[in-house]
Amino acid sequence: MKFIKRLNIGKYPSQWIFFRFDDRLLLISIGALVGSCSGLAALALNRGLIAMFELLGHYRHLWWAFMMPGIGAALSSLFLEKVVKEGAGHGVPEVIYSVSRYGGLMRFRSSFSRLISSCLTIGSGGSAGPEAPVVMSGAAIGSNIAQIFSLNDRQRVALVGCGTAGAVAAIFNAPIAGLVFTIEVIIGEWSALNIVPIAVASVFGAQVCRLLQGNQIAFTHLQFNIDPADTIACLGLAVVTAVVSIMLTRALRLSNRVSHRIHLPVWLKAAIGGCAVGLIGFLLPDVLGEGYHSIQAMVEGTFSNGLLLVALLVFAKIVATSFTLGWGGSGGIFAPCLVIGSFTGLMYHRFIEMLWPGIAWVNEGCFALLGMAGLISGILQAPLTGMFLIVEITGGYEVILPLILVSAISTTLCHSFEPASFYMKDLVEKGHFLRPRTDARVLADLSVSELVEKDCIIVTKDMKLGDFVKIMQKSHRNFFPVEDENSGEFLGLIHLDDIREYLFDPLFYETVFLEQIMDIQVQTVGLDDDLSVILDRMDAGNLYSMPVIANNQFVGMISKATLLDKYRNELIVQTDH
C-alpha cells in the first residue's frame, strides 16, 4: 500500500506521475479504448440498419410503402426532440462546433441518440447515410471517456478525434480514411500530438469491426486499365462533380430554409419530407436508403440504366437527400454523396461514350469511383478524405492518379463557389468556426476579464478641475472614469487629449467641474463581449481604449496595446506543441 502511495497513483490515471507531464502514452492507450468503443457503435448501427431492411423489406410492395420513410423520419425526429432533447442535423457540424468552442465537451446521450434516430430514418428508406451519426456517437464516446478520466481540453479534443476516427474506420472498414477525415475535417490541425492517438484509434476501430464482421472491402471492383485518355477525361468529370456538389449543397440549404419557414411541428415536417422521399422512391427505388447496393452495382459495371435515367437519378437523389435531411430526418451526407457521386460518374461515362464511341474508355465502374471521390471532395472540401476513402473502400489503388486529379479540381472549384464546405457553412455564418492556430480562435479564447486593466484612478463628477489636475499628476494613464459618488454608477470618461487646452489655465481650476468636461457618449464594452466585435468597434471608431462596464459600474479599461501583448502570448502558447 505504501509503495502504491509512493508511486503517487491517484484516483485518475491522468494524475499518475507517469502520465502527468507527458500524456502521449496516456492518450494512445485511452485512444485505443475509444476507437474500439466507437467501432462497436458503428457496428451496432450497421447491424441495426440491416435488421430494419430485413424487417421492412416485406412491406415494400404495399401501396402505403411510400409513407414508410415519412413514418421513420417522424419517429426519429420525435425521438430526438422529445426523448433526448437534441436538435436534428447530421452530427458532424455539431462535433466540429463542440471541438472548436467547448474543447470537445459533449453530452453522454449523444453517444447513442443519433444511432437510434438515424437507424429509424435510414432503415425506413430515408435518403441519408449512417456515417455522420456514427461520427457523432464516436465523438461523444471519446468526449465522455475523457471526462471520466478528467482530462483537459486538449486531451479531450484528441479523444473526440479518436472516437471519430474509430467510427469512420469501422463503418467503412477504412482506417486511413478515418484518420484523414478526422484531422482534415474535425480537428483541422496536423500535429503529431493528435495524429498518433487518432491513428491508433483508427486501427482499433477497424480491427474491432473486422473481428466481428470479417474483413470485407465495401465495394469490390473489376480490374481497371487506365489510359491517358481516361485521365484527361477525368478533368471533365471533376468539373461535373463540382457542379453536382454545389447543386447538392445549395439544394440542402434551400430545403432547410423552406422547412424553417413552415410552422409545423418538427415531427410533422419530418414526416412530410419522408413521404416526399417515399414518393420519389416509388418511381426510382435506387434513391432510397443509404444506397450502397446501387453503388456496388455501378462499381461492378452491372448497372444497366441509360444516360437519361442516370441523369434523372442524380437529380432525384439530390432532391431525396434534401427532403430527408433538410426537413428533419436524421442521418449523414456521406453515403448520399457516394451514391450521387457514382451516379454522376456513370452519367459522365455514358455521355462521353456517346460523344466519342470510337475510344476504348475504361470500365464505367472506374468513373463511378472517381465520381464518388469528386463528390466527397467537393462537398466536404476535404480532398485527402475523398482520395483515401475511395481507395480504401474499393481496394482500387490503380485509380489513384485520376483520383487525385478529380479530388483536387473538384475541391478547388467548389471552394471558389462555396467558400465554406457544407459542414462548416452554418458554423462560419454564426462565427463559430474556430480552427486551431487562427486569429478567430485566439480572440475567442481570450476574454475581456483577462485583458482589463484596473489601474485607472476613478474621479467623481463634483470634483473641481484644480483637484483633478493634482490627481492627474499621480496617474500614468490618459483616461479617468467618472463615477457617481453615491451609487458608484459609471457616468462618463475623461480623456486627457480632450481637455488638454484647459489644463494650463488656472482660471478653470476653481470654476470647472468634471461633470462639465467628461465625455458622456463614450462607447463601452461589457465583460462578456466578444473580442472580435470589440476590435471591430475600435477600428470603426478609431479608438485605442474602451472602458469596460459591468452592472453600470466601471471595471477597467481595455486597450489595443494590452490586447496585442496578450494576443501574442496566447498565440505563442497555442502554437507551441
Binding site: S14, Q15, R20, F21, G103, L151, N152, D153, R154, Q155, D445, L446, S447, S449, E450, K470, K474, K566, R568, N569, I572, V573, Q574, D576
Partner: protein
C-alpha cells in the same frame, strides 16, 4: 510544487483567469488539485521559456523602485552638506567657493570639471530663479562614478548680483549634482515645491542652523509626498 492559483498567476505575470483557462485547455504543464496548482518547477520553467513568459518565484523580490523615486530632499541635502559664509563677490567666485566646499569628491579634477560645467550653464542662462535663490547645476549629468545625487546648500556671506530673473541679489545657492537627468528632475521638483513656499524663503533669509534647516526640509518633504 504547490501554489495557489493567484500566486502562480502572479509568478507568471498573467491574470488568474488566463492561468485557469490555460490549465483547463491543457496548454500549461500545471494541474489543479483542490484549491492549489500542482506542477514540477523544471518543466514549468522550461515551458515558460518556450512560451515567452518568465517564472518569478512568488515573494522572491519586489520590483526595484525606479531610479530616483525613493530619494527625498532631506537625504540628498544631508549628503551634500550645509555651508555658511561662503565667500565671493561675483557669480564665478561664489560658485568656485561652493564647489570647493563639496566633500563628496576625491580629486581636484572632479571639482574642476564640475566648476566648468556649472559656469557654462550660468553663461547660457542664470540659474538665479528669484527671491534671492539660485540653483546652480550642470546642463547634462556628469560622470561622477558611484556618487549618489546630492544637493549642497551654500549660504553666502554677502548677497551677490546673480543676474537673476527678478534682479534681486542671491543669498543662498543649492548646488544640484545628479548622476542622471531623471534624478535631477525628481530632486528639482521637490526643491521647486519648497521654493514656491513664501514661508520657506522667509525661513531661509534668517540663515537657519543645521538642525532647524533639516527639520524644515523634512517637513516639506512630507508635505510633498502627501498631496
Amino acid at each position: 510544487m504547490k501554489l495557489a492559483l493567484k500566486e502562480l498567476a502572479a509568478a507568471l505575470n498573467i491574470t488568474p483567469n488566463t492561468l485557469e483557462r490555460w490549465i483547463r485547455q491543457g496548454r500549461i504543464p500545471v494541474r489543479i488539485k483542490g484549491n492549489h496548482c500542482v506542477f514540477s518547477l523544471p518543466s514549468l520553467q522550461k515551458w515558460a521559456v518556450a512560451n515567452n513568459l518568465a517564472y518569478k518565484p512568488p515573494g522572491a523580490e519586489a520590483l526595484p523602485v525606479p531610479e530616483g523615486q525613493a530619494d527625498n530632499l532631506r537625504a540628498a541635502m544631508e549628503r551634500g552638506g550645509l555651508y555658511y559664509n561662503i565667500e565671493g563677490e561675483s557669480v564665478e567666485e561664489v560658485i568656485r567657493s561652493g564647489v570647493n566646499s563639496i566633500t563628496s569628491f576625491d580629486t581636484q579634477g572632479q571639482r574642476e570639471t564640475l566648476y566648468e560645467s556649472l559656469l557654462a550653464r550660468e553663461e547660457l542662462m542664470s540659474t538665479g530663479i528669484g527671491k534671492g535663490v539660485a540653483i546652480p547645476h550642470p546642463r547634462t549629468p556628469l560622470d561622477y562614478g558611484e556618487i549618489p545625487a546630492f544637493i549642497t546648500t551654500c549660504f553666502l556671506k554677502n548677497p551677490v548680483d546673480y543676474k537673476a530673473v527678478d534682479r534681486q541679489p542671491v543669498f543662498v545657492l543649492f548646488l544640484l549634482i545628479c548622476p542622471s537627468s531623471k534624478r535631477h528632475l525628481h530632486l528639482l521638483a521637490r526643491l521647486s515645491f519648497c521654493l514656491r513656499d513664501e514661508e520657506f524663503i522667509n525661513f531661509l533669509t534668517h540663515t537657519p542652523d543645521q538642525s532647524a534647516f533639516f527639520k524644515k526640509i523634512e517637513e516639506l518633504d512630507h508635505r510633498f509626498d502627501t498631496p
